[in-house]
């Protein structure tokens, strides 16, 4: 890092490192996603009890992360973009948690 004041980040711009993802990487991701889809369908026909939706969501989340990291290039982006993406999903979790805690606690003490 530069030791002098550089507000416009010219000397060592993090975003200057531009990465072109190769078709080979895309092909590996593509096959992985198709395999993930096959596993999702197969797992749905196996009785896993309460773990059925958990497995389905785990596979879907894994596939989504792979798409975000490689197809959407987030793995190769600056920390600003990575933080932006993470904050979006964090805000979504806040939405789920707070709304669910409202519905769960609404009838407390009434039964």
């Amino acid at each position: 890092m530069s030791e002098f004041h550089d507000p416009s980040n010219v000397v060592n711009p993090e975003h200057a490192d531009h990465h072109i993802v190769t078709p080979v990487t895309y092909a590996i991701v593509f096959v992985t996603l198709l395999v993930g889809t096959a596993i999702t369908v197969a797992a749905a026909y196996v009785d896993l009890g309460i773990f059925n939706p958990i497995v389905a969501l785990a596979i879907a989340c894994t596939k989504a992360v792979i798409v975000i990291l490689f197809f959407m290039h987030v793995k190769y982006q600056s920390r600003l973009v990575k933080l932006t993406v993470a904050s979006g999903f964090f805000t979504f979790l806040v939405l789920i948690t707070m709304t669910l805690s409202d519905y769960i606690s609404r009838a407390w003490g009434l039964w």
Binding site: F4, H5, P13, H15, A60, A64, M72, V81
Partner: protein, 253 residues
């Protein structure tokens, strides 16, 4: 601030050597950005901010699904089993394929291959339209079975499944009515997803036309890259819709 710094530190932007200052290499480079890379990152950042609003928009629908699935689980199971897994799985594969060609399109633009870019964009569009076609077939099946919520919705399959050759447990009439909630969410979620696909296909026609004129094969990749982000986001929504709507409880009881 910048100017004051520049007088004391010779290596900042304002006092850079004139030759190094020639970063305005492309006509689309806006002068208020220091470098091309900064402009590019600002564009990516802006696109992701838009996608965050989309996450929250679809997030609301997913939350409604989560809540009603817990309230009316039995109704959700039997109505989910009315959806067609082969068509849904095929559509998942088709959408992944479309996203794969979109990703290849971004690569083709990066390495400045105009012909390849146009081909990949056309393939992206083709698989996108194929997805919508299969979705239309599925919607039509729901229409024929009277599984579209509203006045002509028919619960008889859920109240008396044996008469229709179904192996499901029969539902009480009040719970059977709640299958309408599932189908409402099914149409709302897949419908909003399909609307995003339709908008995407329209944008793809426009981008293909521009790509064919060579606009994105001379170093200006941002429109292709940012549209790619949108298209992949729509893919991700479907990656969650498919297991949540089609695969709630498919194993034999």
């Amino acid at each position: 601030m910048d100017n004051a710094t520049a007088t004391t530190h010779p290596h900042t932007h304002e006092t850079a050597v004139a030759a190094e200052h020639q970063h305005v290499a492309l006509p689309q480079h806006r002068h208020h950005f220091e470098t091309q890379e900064q402009q590019r990152e600002a564009g990516t950042f802006g696109m992701w901010l838009f996608l965050l609003t989309e996450i929250m928009f679809f997030g609301g629908l997913f939350f409604a699904y989560l809540l009603y699935r817990n309230w009316y689980y039995d109704a959700f199971v039997v109505s989910s089993n009315q959806l067609n897994i082969p068509l849904g799985a095929a559509n998942t594969a088709i959408l992944i394929t479309s996203g794969f060609f979109m990703a290849l399109g971004v690569w083709a633009a990066e390495v400045k291959k105009r012909g390849l870019l146009v081909i990949f964009l056309v393939l992206t569009t083709f698989f996108g339209v194929a997805f919508l076609g299969i979705k239309a077939v599925e919607y039509h099946e729901k229409w024929e079975k009277h599984h579209i919520p509203g006045a002509s919705f028919d619960v008889s399959q859920f109240v008396n499944p044996k008469a229709y050759g179904l192996k499901e447990q029969p539902l009480a009439p009040d719970m059977a009515q709640k299958t309408q909630v599932f189908f409402f969410l099914y149409f709302a979620m897949t419908g909003m997803h399909a609307l995003h696909m339709v908008i995407g296909v329209v944008l793809l026609f426009w981008l293909t036309w521009r790509a064919n004129r060579g606009e994105f094969s001379a170093g200006y990749v941002a429109p292709i890259e940012n549209f790619g982000l949108y298209w992949h986001f729509v893919d991700i929504v479907w990656l969650f819709l498919f297991p949540l709507l089609y695969l709630i409880n498919r194993h034999p009881v």
